[in-house]
């Protein structure tokens, strides 16, 4: 019944020349999304990945279990000294992410361009 979460990674460069890994998610993010979210993150080369963007542009639905997976990703990233930002959330889910405090550990941006410019 749930729309399966799909993810893929793009390697970009920030305007200042730093490599950025963009994790792009599609579908719903819920309790069944562990492999798509954490699996995709854990597959990134930890030593060379310092800047990470999470792309939620094509995500329609995130429930509290999905938000918990994002928090688990942020925890692992913090332990690895990585900076994580996100973009593409709807106004509603930007509000929800802010309510639960995620913005304290990951900045949110409306678009990829704005997110890259801030790195």
């Amino acid at each position: 019944m749930e729309s399966e979460t799909k993810s893929h990674v793009d390697q970009l460069q920030s305007p200042t020349g730093y490599p950025v890994a963009v994790l792009r998610f599609t579908g719903d993010i819920s309790s069944t999304s562990k492999e798509a979210v954490l699996g995709a993150y854990e597959a990134l080369p930890r030593e060379t990945t310092k800047l990470i963007l999470l792309d939620f542009t094509k995500v329609d639905y995130i429930n509290s279990s999905g938000i918990a997976l994002v928090i688990q990703l942020l925890i692992q990233a913090a332990h690895s000294g990585q900076t994580v930002c996100a973009f593409g959330l709807s106004a509603h889910f930007t509000k929800v992410f802010t309510m639960v405090g995620i913005t304290k550990y990951a900045r949110l941006f409306p678009s990829q361009t704005e997110a890259l410019a801030a790195l």
Binding site: M1, E2, S30, S31, T32, Y61, N63, S64, S65, I67, A68, L69, I71, Q72, L74, I75, A78, S90, A91, H92, K95, V96, M99, V100, G101, I102, K104, Y105
Partner: protein, 148 residues
Amino acid sequence: MTDPKTTTVEVRLPTKMGYEKVAMSTAASVAKLMGFPEDRIEDLKTAVAEACINAIEHGNRLNEKLSVGVVLRADNDELEVKVLDDGRGISSKPVKPDIDRKMHGDEDARGMGMFLIQALVDEAEWVTGSDGKSSYVRLVIKLNKQAA
């Protein structure tokens, strides 16, 4: 006797993760018919989703022999949604998630559903059935209030 100005919609969901989306769509449709603005409808959808997920996962303990009842009552100026399950109800009140504690591993990353429900609607009430095995959460959004 039902007030003629009140409209009731009832949905029965299977106890399967994912079917909360049926309740979300139904609640959104009723709210739209009532004239709620889009941002308020999004608040309601998330609250209903979390309530249904709790009913499926915790109330009915993923027992597919049970079902989750969703009753929507549309009044002149408010929409009430009740989500019913066969569980014993909640044992503690919703707690605001502490992101710092979660990030430091001192609090489970999960467990934000009840907080979101309470934060996104105008009224949220958890009720345990008198028989000890049926419970519901009652959510209300009012037409004249702004979004969270």
